[in-house]
């Protein structure tokens, strides 16, 4: 199976407190730690496991800037064979539809049986996989937490409300968005990263992909973020202040009065 996995470089929210800059037009990016989108790691791990068991190869692809190359290398250190960087000034400011259109052009340059994305990324849209599938006229399933290959098709599980699993059969080629928990992504050490440090990663721009630059990027976006802001806290929590001991004493009193300590 030839598998393409779409990955995105995002601020690591588990490591960072996201701060909004004083102009309110961006987040503070200076000391941000970036990593690969959490969901994409599960997608790459799943692709590698499928190929280990059933043969084929894994290619990781991203739409981003030069710095996005590092996430491709990280995923290649996990075991993806090939990486492709899609980068062009014309891509900047693309909305989800734009990103999907860029990816579609790249998909058509290859010959993939299966395309995986993460269920969602940092902006919380959960859209690129479904859009890409519709553009390619491939069947799609979101939130996939189980994949079992069969003849020309896959048996898949989708995670639905309450943790129940919706089992489907889907024909290849198809696009699946992967939910966390489907596997345990392998650890990548410094050594693994070093091994792929000099592997060539081709970069493609709009003209390489045969894309009309006006069909993607800021100009073509139908959905545009105007700013970042901190929402009104509403009531908000009453923050307990004082020394740790004082805080704990207050908290215990509160817990007792609310029936929190039996």
């Amino acid at each position: 199976m030839e598998i393409l996995v779409c990955v995105k470089r995002v601020p690591d929210t588990a490591e960072n407190e996201i701060e909004i800059n004083s102009e309110g037009n961006d987040i503070e990016r200076d000391d941000l730690v970036y990593s690969v989108n959490e969901w994409d790691n599960y997608a790459v791990e799943e692709a590698i496991q499928l190929v280990d068991e059933h043969g084929g190869s894994v290619t990781v692809i991203t739409v981003g800037d030069d710095e996005s190359e590092e996430v491709l290398r990280r995923e290649m250190a996990m075991g993806a064979e090939n990486g492709i960087l899609l980068s062009d000034d014309a891509f900047e400011g693309s909305d989800g539809r734009g990103i999907a259109a860029i990816l579609k052009a790249a998909v058509e340059k290859g010959n993939y049986d299966l395309i995986l994305t993460g269920a969602q990324a940092d902006e919380g849209y959960a859209q690129v996989g479904g859009m890409l599938a519709a553009m390619l006229d491939y069947p799609y399933a979101s939130l996939v937490n189980m994949i079992k290959p069969g003849d020309g098709k896959l048996k898949i599980g989708r995670e639905i409300e309450g943790g129940n699993q919706e089992v489907n059969e889907i024909e290849l080629p198809c696009v699946l968005s992967i939910q966390t928990g489907i596997n345990e992504p392998r650890y990548v050490g410094i050594r693994g990263i070093r091994k792929v440090a000099s592997v060539d990663i081709p970069t493609m721009g709009a003209s390489d992909l045969g894309l009309d630059a006006g069909s993607v990027g800021q100009g073509a976006a139908r959905v545009r973020r105007l700013d970042y802001f901190v929402p009104e806290m509403g009531e908000g929590a009453e923050m307990l202040e004082g020394s740790t001991e004082e805080i704990i004493d207050k908290l215990i009193e509160l817990l007792k009065s609310k029936g929190g300590i039996k």
Partner: protein, 318 residues
């Protein structure tokens, strides 16, 4: 103004809470709009009747092929019957995530997901509010609706709206070819675990802030001292540090405790979606801006790795 539609979720003849939340959202787009509800399924006359108590027009889409809501099949049906500039509202849940993005491509419409508020329409621009980075930052968003739009609305954020009664229109004859390359087979129910956290009165809930599997032990010690049960957020289950049956959230359990202690949990909407019954919420987090503090009653800014053992010790001494 383009026609506004609301895709209605229902199961076993019961309307989902979002059915009337979408009506409220639609009224924020255009207060005077006659909103058309879309109801799909097999044998849905009763459901359509219930929806028609609040929506002016209800489109009934009754077909064997969608007795289970397979998003790929429903998309085909909708593409055949919706006007190309339709504004379609649906819930941003596991079905909306499956249907919305692809539908927007096939209808050549804009797509906005997980919308938490709507400020109105200005010409061809729909003004929306969303969040990014798991709720750590909010954004104003402009959505171009000149060729229609699919708007996935976050469940639970719009207070359900009442509406005027209307009539059911049967659209089942206009669906076209409904063959699809994805077939629904079955639903496998989540396994029961060693504890039933849906019955717990007091929950000590732990999130990614606990950092390491070895630290889970201290959470159990605290819970034991309090006479509480231990629950958790999703990353703890993904890492296999706790069993799935302890996960609180939309893809886990819905809990209704009296007291909920959120330790090192950021407060994503999927987590909070599993927290019902207005419990007394205590949040402990090292990030004072964590979204959990917006919904908690009492907050403590602290490192849980230090705070939990100290609190447990003090409670044990009582």
């Amino acid at each position: 103004m383009a026609q506004i539609f609301a895709y209605i979720l229902h199961s076993d003849g019961v309307l989902d809470d979002t059915a009337l939340e979408l009506l409220a959202a639609a009224k924020k787009i255009d207060a005077s709009a006659d909103v058309t509800a879309i109801v799909t399924g097999k044998g849905i006359d009763d459901v359509c009747g219930k929806v028609a108590e609040s929506y002016k027009t209800v489109w009934k889409i009754d077909n064997d092929a969608i007795s289970y809501p397979n998003a790929e099949v429903i998309r085909k049906a909708l593409v055949n019957i919706l006007p190309s500039d339709a504004i379609v509202l649906m819930a941003h849940d596991t079905f909306g995530m499956d249907l919305g993005p692809g539908l927007s491509i096939k209808l050549d419409s804009a797509f906005a997901a997980d919308v938490v508020d709507i400020e109105g329409v200005d010409g061809n621009t729909l003004k929306l509010i969303r969040q990014e980075f798991s709720g750590q930052a909010s954004t104003h968003v402009d959505c171009d609706i000149s060729t229609g739009a699919i708007i996935n609305v976050r469940p639970g954020v719009f207070a359900p709206s009442g509406g005027q009664a209307g009539e059911v229109v049967d659209k089942s004859g206009e669906l076209g070819d409904l063959s699809a390359k994805r077939k629904f087979i079955e639903i496998l129910e989540a396994e029961a675990g060693e504890v039933d956290i849906t019955k717990s009165e007091v929950l000590v809930s732990v999130g990614r802030g606990i950092e390491d599997e070895d630290n889970i032990e201290m959470v159990f010690e605290l819970a034991e001292a309090m006479g509480a049960d231990v629950s958790c957020s999703r990353p703890i289950v993904d890492a296999k540090w706790l069993e799935k049956a302890r996960q609180v959230g939309t893809s886990g359990k819905t809990v209704k405790p009296k007291v909920y202690m959120a330790l090192g949990i950021s407060g994503s909407f999927q987590h909070l979606g599993g927290l019902k019954g207005n419990p007394f919420i205590v949040a402990v987090n090292k990030n004072p801006k964590a979204p959990i503090f917006q919904v908690a009653d009492v907050g403590v800014e602290a490192d849980i790795l230090e705070f939990i053992p100290e609190l447990a010790e003090k409670i044990q001494e009582l």
